[in-house]
């Protein structure tokens, strides 16, 4: 009994440490991005670049961006971070979420240009909302750990399905072939996975 309690305490402590580390990590990088925005600080930018450039590049590669364009688009994400750092608001998003939305927008632009050569708009992603939402009353910074917890609790197949459908380069039909499920099953299981995510989050976020 004592041993059980001890092991539980150990786990709780290590969980707590992981959470504390994550909070420190978010504070560090949100501070650096703020520093770039306010003072155009090259050293701060270098640290952000070293931390996120490899991640952005790896993420864009998993979305199926052509190898020869990968560097250009990933670098474009990084220059956007430099140009828009002053718009970053720590109360609305964790650093990595903000960077994700920039990478997503550059990905949209790249897809449009590839598919539609007649597309004349300079920046196809301007259709995406950039919120200045006065309703946001809680810190989105802390949401990242809630999301992290939720993703850990989500059954592995459901997590993989969500990743394939939304954060990698697979159509529903391709998923159906890979998983050996009928197309309708892919759709319904995906919906179940999203429901499960919302349920795990409960009232923490939604």
């Amino acid at each position: 009994m004592t041993a059980l309690r001890a092991s539980k305490t150990v786990r709780t402590t290590s969980d707590q440490k992981a959470k504390d580390d994550r909070v420190k990590y978010n504070e560090l990088y949100s501070g650096l991005i703020t520093e770039i925005g306010q003072n155009h600080d090259k050293d701060a930018y270098k640290r952000v670049f070293k931390e996120f450039y490899p991640r952005v590049k790896s993420y864009l590669a998993s979305l199926g961006i052509d190898h020869e364009k990968l560097d250009d688009i990933a670098q474009d994400v990084m220059t956007t971070i430099w140009r828009k750092a002053h718009q970053y608001d720590v109360s609305k998003a964790a650093p990595v979420t903000w960077i994700f939305t920039i990478a997503r927008n550059r990905y949209i632009d790249a897809c449009i240009r590839k598919k539609n050569h007649n597309f004349t708009e300079q920046d196809a992603s301007y259709f995406m909302v950039e919120f200045e939402d006065p309703d946001v009353s809680y810190s989105r910074l802390n949401n990242q750990e809630i999301i992290q917890d939720m993703l850990k609790k989500l059954p592995e197949t459901q997590l993989e399905l969500v990743k394939m459908a939304y954060f990698k380069d697979y159509s529903h039909r391709e998923i159906s072939e890979i998983m050996g499920w009928p197309l309708g099953t892919v759709k319904s299981r995906l919906r179940v996975a999203l429901q499960k995510m919302k349920k795990l989050l409960g009232h923490n976020i939604l």
Partner: protein, 234 residues
């Protein structure tokens, strides 16, 4: 203020948040988000999931950045380029252009308003007996976007959308059909099999943003929308 009852389904919101939708779909979803806190929260959640997935892309042993790599990038892309002094301060384009081209004032600063300002000279106006339409320039050969203004009390004959599917977002006023009542902010998808006969409310014209997607498109990337459950969303 009426509350919004008809929302895009979660899988569509996730597709939007992860960058998997076409520009026209992005436009109608982002306009819905201007009305709907619930869907903004779901999109924010999906973006946070995306952030976490980006964070976990740690298998980048081949991509480690050295000081030299950074210096090279810095000199070519930041220091010696327009980016160095180019910070997107404020939104200059907004200050110089008269706001809201006949769209509800709550859509000020929305992507729809910005889009209308950019493409104003390319918008085609069409007028019919009971409605007028502003057709926006195409961003995609398989879909069509328009702003429709339908007179108060108009009863439309029963029809279906043979071409593919139709997404409608009510911007102001409202209508009802066999399936429900739709007010400002409500988002509806109709497939190509369902018949409906919409009637605009008696007291106010109904302004809608409408995206029509062709069958070809439906079978491709957006095939996931075509299933027996999507006739009515929520």
């Amino acid at each position: 203020m009426t509350s919004i009852k008809h929302h895009p389904r979660d899988d569509l919101l996730f597709a939007y948040a992860s960058g998997k939708c076409t520009p026209d779909v992005n436009l109608i979803i982002s306009t819905h988000l201007h009305y709907c806190k619930r869907c903004r929260d779901i999109v924010a959640m999906a973006e946070e999931v995306g952030g976490e997935i980006l964070q976990n892309h740690t298998d980048h042993s081949a991509n480690t950045v050295t000081d030299d790599d950074f210096e090279q990038f810095w000199q070519s892309k930041i220091e010696n380029s327009a980016a160095h002094n180019h910070f997107n301060h404020g939104s200059a384009d907004h200050d110089t252009i008269a706001v809201s081209k006949n769209i509800p004032s709550r859509l000020n600063k929305s992507p729809l308003e910005k889009h209308l300002q950019r493409v104003e000279h390319k918008v085609r106006h069409r007028s019919f007996f009971s409605f007028s339409e502003r057709v926006l320039p195409k961003t995609d050969e398989h879909s069509r976007v328009s702003l429709m203004n339908i007179k108060a009390g108009t009863k439309m004959p029963s029809h279906k959308h043979d071409g593919g599917c139709e997404m409608t977002l009510v911007l102001s006023g409202g209508y009802q059909d066999e399936f429900g009542t739709y007010n400002a902010g409500d988002f509806v998808i109709m497939d190509n099999k369902t018949l409906h006969s919409p009637s605009v409310f008696e007291d106010e014209a109904c302004e809608c943003l409408v995206v029509n997607m062709s069958q070809l498109k439906m079978a491709g990337r957006f095939g996931f929308l075509l299933d027996p459950f999507f006739k009515l969303i929520y």
